[in-house]
Amino acid sequence: MAETCWFTPTHEWVRQEGHALRIGITLHAAQALGDLVYVELPEVGHQVAAGDAVAVVESVKAASDVYSPVSGEVLEVNAALVDHPELVNEDPMGQGWLLLLYPMGSLENMLDQAGYDALVQSQTQP
């Protein structure tokens, strides 16, 4: 059963899994970045504040920060990305997930699928 997915205006997706949140970057973000060649992930146990850069994804083009949508503690990172950063391009919402976070606050300013689609639409069509 598909869990509800939420989106940030900075192109992360967030999925509730039990008490934890699984976080990644959106298909739109992955396509805009182009081929990813390196993903820098935080240490497990690392504590982040809402809005902090929690990971870095680097494409052939540039490095981009990934922002934590909520304060929390990193429970798990996707170790497969160390050797296979291209998983983020191939399956950004699935095998290309970045990290699992135990939230210590509530999600705010999140977009649902329709809201995010509208945002992308407005950003790509001047």
């Binding site: 182009g34 081929d35 060649v37 390196y38 680097e58 052939v60 160390v82």
Partner: protein, 377 residues
């Protein structure tokens, strides 16, 4: 914003072909066509084509053309033994700094063609016209022409298949040879050079702009992979070829950026612009290649450290698709030995070890570092 960007004659066909565009030097140019990595590997292993029509093509003609170019360029076109040869050179200002790097082709008696960088083409022309004031030299910029770079080990075979009438000329061309289509033939207005910016074999084709979309399409039908600026950058970085505006500019001299070999100091009585300044200049740094020894990506402006002393800076960097790691071109203080084993680079405030290497890192499809053992050992 995008209204102010210029477009090459291939813009439409590239857009229709799925190009992701980005602004570059005042033009909207293809960044990639879906995967820059795939394009990179295609050029190393097969054949790719790049639209380089944004670059500046300037024809220089007249009885004063040769004397002017011998004065304007740090390399000496007297080294060209006959028409149909090309020369890589830098153009300096009186202070010895680099105004541009370019290729001069000798087309015929008193006829030369320059291919210069897109971002500098207007300034280059003004500089040359000022130098030539009062002399019998004519400059004709050629925005009517397109420039396609067909690069890779299969470049000759693919071009020959698409242009059977020029196949014998392609086969006869050595590196830096130039062939001009004769008047009265279908190839009038075409120029084929065995040159490129990828470290692979290949050709650069100048042709009338209205014929460029046809050639582009025929190459793609023959299996040549369309490539964008991202692959062009990773290929030239692996090949150790400088990018003007990043690895060199008007504040650097040729020797400081690894281009000392392009300066023709002899004959001693040739007075080229910048000569005097170069003689008096004390080099401040040298250009080196870097290979990142950990995971990550090297980028321009990252600083280099030997213990707690900053000894240099990355001028352009990226991920090497061929080597599968971060590589860069960098400036290293002359006080720092190139054999330094403790050199580190700061990436997001963390230090990572880097190896200093002599570019190129990849040439003709082969990784040149670490150097292979000599044969028989």
């Amino acid at each position: 914003m995008s209204d102010t960007l210029q477009k090459t004659v291939l813009h439409q066909v590239q857009h229709d072909g799925g190009a992701v565009m980005a602004p570059f030097a005042g033009y909207e140019m293809p960044l990639h066509f879906g995967s820059a990595l795939r394009e990179h590997h295609a050029v190393r292993q097969g054949c790719g084509v790049f639209d380089c029509s944004h670059m500046g093509i300037i024809d220089v003609a007249g009885v004063g053309a040769m004397a002017l170019l011998r004065r304007a360029m740090a390399n000496d076109i007297i080294r060209l033994k006959n028409p149909g040869r090309a020369l890589y050179t830098v153009m300096l200002h009186e202070g010895g700094g680099i105004l541009d790097d370019l290729i001069v082709s000798w087309l015929g008696p008193d006829r030369y063609r320059l291919v210069v960088n897109a971002a500098t083409k207007t300034a280059d022309l003004a500089h040359l016209q000022a130098l030539a004031a009062g002399e019998p030299v004519q400059f004709v910029p050629r925005p009517d022409c397109a420039l396609l770079a067909v690069q890779g080990p299969q470049a000759e075979a693919k071009l020959a298949a698409v242009l059977p009438d020029v196949a014998p000329h392609l086969a006869a061309q050595r590196s830096f040879a130039v062939w001009e289509g004769p008047q009265g033939t279908a190839r009038h207005g075409w120029m084929l050079s065995r040159t490129g910016y990828t470290g692979e074999d290949g050709f650069e084709v100048v042709l009338p702009g209205d014929q460029a979309p046809g050639l582009w399409n025929h190459l793609l039908e023959a299996g040549v992979v369309p490539c964008g600026l991202a692959a062009r950058d990773s290929l030239r970085l692996e090949a150790g070829l400088n990018l003007y505006g990043a690895d060199m500019d008007r504040d650097t001299t040729p020797e400081e950026v690894g281009l000392g070999w392009t300066v023709a100091h002899e004959p001693f009585d040739r007075c080229f612009v910048g000569r005097q300044a170069l003689q008096e200049h004390v080099n401040r740094f040298r250009r080196v290649g870097l290979v990142l020894q950990t995971r990550g990506v090297l980028r321009a402006a990252q600083t280099l450290w030997l213990q707690d002393r900053q000894v240099g800076m990355v001028t352009s960097g990226g991920h090497s698709p061929t080597m599968g790691c971060g590589i860069a071109l960098a400036r290293l203080d002359l006080s720092c030995a190139t054999t330094a084993e403790q050199l580190q680079v700061a990436i997001r405030e963390r230090l990572h070890p880097v190896a200093v290497v002599e570019p190129p890192l990849v040439r003709r499809g082969q990784i040149t570092w670490p150097r292979r053992q000599p044969m028989g050992q």
